[in-house]
Symmetry: C2
Subunit: 431 residues, 2 copies
């Protein structure tokens, strides 16, 4: 093992970047002891050199010129924590072209450009790691790549977005409505001022694309992931979920059947005694079903500078260890070509419907008839909350497994029944 | 990457060994595709060559002579799944001396001889991996070694034995007594005819020794782990636990404080809304508290041939990948010398006592007085189930944090009070 310095370039000195810089400074001795080499933070790309910072760096370590990190010959590993698609993607490419190993926490870049970047890295004989991109400090990427390498992965069910899980927890436990819970999350710093990426499920879809690609050895196009957010959930849905013995979670789901895969992100009823139902607040949890290891669940906080720095430093140490051993590890491109994507209309699951209907005899018969001729069978029904004044009632229906397209057709027909005021909500049911 | 065969020797063809052989046969193509080399099961050590088996191997693959596996020049990797301390330890040593990489599932060997074997492997420039030894298919060993490499691990709280967790779950959910639940576990094949290793906590202590060694970079002597089994738990304890909002689990606990560690395996009250409290049946779960990644939980089935084969094959593939890349990875010996062990008498936690006392005035005063002068303060008390005939009552006490030695002294004094018939049980409380 050769004793040497391993020089690191850092792109970005925001919350996560500062976290990394602090770990590199504060843990320098113990990391060097474990590695047999020193990790040196050579250069950091910032927007502004002169600025008050929480981490003490010398002026010569800071630069506003990307090429001083991306092309400097002495730099071995480039850590990218700028976030966002551009310029991060271009920076990573340029660094690879200059034979730097890459560690990134950027889910958007990896979800959208992972295959291209992995191929480029392979070509240039450099490593590209992205453990922090999914679940932050929860080990998932290497678990899929290495620990489960002998497994056929059958399905992934995951809570991948802490912001939405916090909002759903507050709605469920405190009966808050969506906008109040969102506002609270924003005040606590859990949700951004523009929360669209989180609450519409986009963030979870990026992460699912990365995990599903690894799990199924395939190339996933994020556009292919059906995506539905949490904003249309109402307080009543949580009450009925509880009554039926369920929790409501925003799940990212990927399943493999023979040569096709299904991938979707949407709110789901899951049994309240399942492991995922018990995941509250900003926590993430990922359930993996595999042929050998069986049913595994990984649980932890999926956000925050400290959490991300755990995963990023694990990647840096893995690359540094290889450098010390003179070994070269390059990322693997997926083996299989693109697997057929099961269209959303063909998925089969159970459903929860909440309807506002006229409070008079024969209503249930008409609705049952529509469901029946669409081959949807009912597993339970609750009729409630008759409003004497408006003569309306709430009808809640849970179905047996049915095909999405039949359900969509039935809902259209139900909406047209004169006895139905509205289909207030419908939510898919898993487990 | 050089295309070549990687030859494997297998020690043992019992349940786990057969599982490994099946994976190597059934998944040969996909493993070869992923690796760029074929994994060939060259030789298997069995007790008897001629025997009906569930896995189809050719007679030339089987041998009753250990040296045909341990010393054969063509064999690259030796997988040990015999179990037990001897002759497994000697076999592993011999294989290392003949420059074989080692994969073992043997918790007893690694817990007792890990340091020696790691040092020997390092000396001979071979790899030694043991992912299956703790939590079976749940990734833990590599998680501690690599994914959490930048973390200071602060504590481990773990359910590491599926047999005892099954028994505790049945006692808690169905009100079974210990011996009925044990009998049931034996009938289902979850507990062995001689269940001592499981129910006395020895199995969990071996696994804790391995995890704590990795987590704290130290050498752990299994003898140093305080170990208490589950046989003295009674149905009433589960009822009171529920009443106070707790579950009872057999936990393996390791904590680090500055330069000392505490390690113990014993039944514990844990809050019923904690992640570990929700782990039922034969499942295992490991909670790791660390400075960067925070609080992580890993959950899955910790036993069975399929589960073990997932972990063993991950190790085999990791070694095979290195062989293909011409890289050498040798196991790391712990950096730190032995950390001071905190004696059990100095640990500080909360306690649950269940006492049978005389049903007359002043009893609680006498007991409180004993606790008070031992600096133990009471957090709650329940007095119940007065038995009119014998004039006895049950007194259940939960304390605030207190030192173990004060508690032991107080219990001794309480036993001597004439108003106390017996100290029916005492259980430590965590979380």
């Amino acid at each position: 093992m050769s004793k040497k310095d391993i020089d690191i370039g850092l792109l970005g000195l925001g919350v996560v970047g500062s976290g990394i810089a602090k770990v590199l400074l504060n843990k320098a001795d113990s990391l060097a002891e474990q590695l047999g080499a020193s990790l040196v933070l050579k250069k950091v790309l910032v927007r502004q050199v002169n600025k008050q910072r929480t981490v003490k760096l010398e002026p010569r370590q800071l630069t506003t010129h990307p090429e001083e990190v991306l092309t400097a010959p002495e730099i071995d590993i480039v850590i990218e924590v700028i976030g966002g698609e551009y310029p991060a993607t271009e920076y990573i490419k340029q660094a690879i072209l200059h034979d730097k190993h890459i560690v990134t926490a950027n889910k958007e870049v990896i979800a959208k450009h992972g295959y291209e970047l992995v191929s480029l890295a392979k070509e240039h004989n450099v490593d590209l790691r992205y453990e922090a991109s999914v679940g932050s400090g929860i080990p998932l990427i290497r678990v899929c790549q290495q620990d489960l390498a002998a497994n056929d992965i059958l399905a992934i069910y995951a809570i991948l977005n802490g912001t939405t899980n916090y909002i759903l927890t507050r709605m469920s436990q405190e009966g808050l409505d969506f906008s109040t819970a969102l506002k609270e999350a924003q005040e606590l710093g859990y949700a951004e001022a523009n929360p669209a990426n989180d609450i519409e499920g986009t963030d979870a879809a990026y992460k699912l694309a990365i995990l599903a690609g690894l799990a199924f050895h395939t190339i996933v196009d994020t556009q292919d992931i059906y995506c539905e957010g949490i904003s249309r959930l109402q307080t009543q849905d949580f009450s009925y979920a509880k009554e039926f013995g369920y929790a409501i979670k925003l799940l990212a789901i990927a399943k493999r059947e023979a040569n096709s895969i299904e991938m979707r992100v949407h709110p789901v009823f899951i049994p309240e005694d399942s492991q995922l139902a018990k995941v509250d607040g900003v926590y993430n949890a990922i359930q993996v079903e595999s042929d050998l290891a069986g049913n595994l669940v990984f649980y932890g906080q999926g956000a925050g500078a400290l959490r991300a720095s755990s995963a990023i430093m694990a990647d840096v140490l893995a690359i540094a260890r290889n450098i010390c051993h003179g070994a070269i590890s390059v990322p693997k491109a997926p083996i299989n070509q693109k697997l057929a994507l099961k269209p959303m209309s063909s998925i089969k699951t159970r459903y929860y419907f909440r309807l506002s209907v006229a409070d008079r005899p024969g209503v249930l018969a008409q609705i049952s008839e529509v469901l029946g001729h669409n081959s949807i069978s009912i597993s339970s029904v609750i009729q409630k909350e008759s409003d004497l004044e408006s003569q309306t009632a709430v009808l809640v229906i849970m179905t047996h497994p049915a095909e999405e397209k039949s359900v969509q057709k039935a809902l259209k027909e139900i909406r047209q029944l004169t006895v139905v005021n509205e289909v207030s909500n419908f939510i898919r049911v898993e487990g």
